[in-house]
């Protein structure tokens, strides 16, 4: 690994002293194989200990470190800086209230997730052993279960920005994941919840969510299937 000099612009916001967010530039030297998270750690540990950001697993599993880097929503822990050259512009996710620096208030995001009942609903009695699912049934929901709830998709969705009541792609994807789960009996309840002017119909297949998803989940495609399911169910 070789050392390289980079310029990092970070959108800072301290609620106790700042009226509005401001940019702060750091000129630092890091390994050329660093990730964005390595860069933030370097700044936090060696240059400015007041920088606030979320991090946890460093393995793109926990979904804590989603942020906007050079205009794209990414997970800081899995994104190498060589994707962006020598200049990095790091901002918090759009569409959420900033708590401090790169930390945003994700409470509304998780409240919306709760609304679609993100758990298995069973009417039937439990089987003696495990539930049996065919490969085809698993295939239908397999990719959608990979969501790590990082909120990168919802923050990238233009329909979410002006409308805080819109459920957003992550919650709708979770609804898809249970509606199409062969083991689940709560489809009718969830379809009723997503069939709302602030539900699945606010999705206009813009594809930003798919582009932002660090797990490369085909969110837009699944939401289209969900729309079709709602219509089929209503007819």
């Amino acid at each position: 690994m070789a050392k390289i000099d980079i310029h990092v612009n970070i959108l800072r916001y301290r609620p106790e002293s700042d009226e509005k967010p401001r940019w702060q530039e750091f000129a630092i030297s890091v390994d050329d194989e660093s990730t964005v998270l390595d860069v933030l750690n370097e700044i936090h540990w060696q240059h400015d200990g007041t920088l606030a950001y979320r991090r946890s697993c460093r393995s793109s599993i926990c979904g804590s470190c989603a942020m906007k880097v050079n205009g794209r929503n990414v997970l800081a822990c899995e994104t190498p800086i060589h994707r962006f050259g020598r200049k990095l512009k790091i901002e918090p996710l759009s569409g959420f209230q900033i708590i401090k620096d790169l930390v945003v208030d994700l409470d509304p995001f998780f409240e919306k997730l709760q609304r679609i009942k993100p758990y298995l609903i069973l009417d039937k009695s439990l089987p003696d052993k495990e539930f049996v699912q065919t490969p085809a049934q698993l295939e239908q929901i397999g990719e959608s279960t990979l969501c790590i709830l990082c909120a990168a998709c919802s923050a990238a969705c233009p329909s979410s920005w002006p409308n805080s009541e819109y459920l957003g792609p992550a919650a709708l994807l979770k609804a898809y994941r249970f509606v199409f789960d062969s083991r689940d009996d709560g489809a009718d309840q969830r379809l009723e919840i997503v069939n709302d002017k602030n539900g699945v119909w606010r999705c206009h297949t813009i594809f930003n969510c798919m582009e932002a998803c660090p797990k490369k989940i085909k969110i837009t495609e699944y939401l289209s299937r969900l729309k079709l399911k709602v219509v089929e169910n209503s007819l």
Binding site: S159, L167, N195, N198, G199, W201, H204, S234
Partner: protein, 124 residues
């Protein structure tokens, strides 16, 4: 919170379905339009006289009126769905909806007049 997410007759399901149906109809009508106006010309190049002759076939007003209605619905429904995204207040929504309805009716009127005019124009 829960009350905002109950099913309603204005959920958007019907508008979504009609937008897809009108898109398919538009595609078929557009194909028919191109075929009849630009390709089935019996070897002649497309000129004013030929367009006028075709415009006076019995199917012309039917096709064009279907085209006009579908295109107006599809276009205005699309614009309305975008405006709904960015307009939170009921008052402004009513203003936008009224404006779109007025534009739609005006274009329907002008379009219908044009179709009738073309159908009844005397071929020289």
């Amino acid at each position: 919170m829960e009350k905002n997410f109950k099913q309603s007759s204005r959920s958007g399901a019907v508008a979504w379905l009609l937008q897809r149906i009108s898109a398919v109809i538009l595609f078929v009508l557009l194909l028919f339009h191109f075929l009849t106006y630009h390709f089935l010309t019996r070897g002649r190049s497309v000129d004013y006289q030929q367009v006028l002759e075709r415009s006076q076939s019995w199917w012309f007003p039917l096709l064009q009126f279907a085209f006009l209605l579908t295109a107006l619905y599809h276009g205005l429904n699309g614009v309305w769905s975008v405006l709904e995204d960015y307009t939170a207040s009921r008052g402004w929504r009513l203003v936008w909806f009224s404006l779109l309805l007025t534009v739609g009716l005006a274009l329907l009127f002008v379009g219908t007049l044009t179709i009738i005019k073309l159908y009844t124009l005397k071929v020289a």
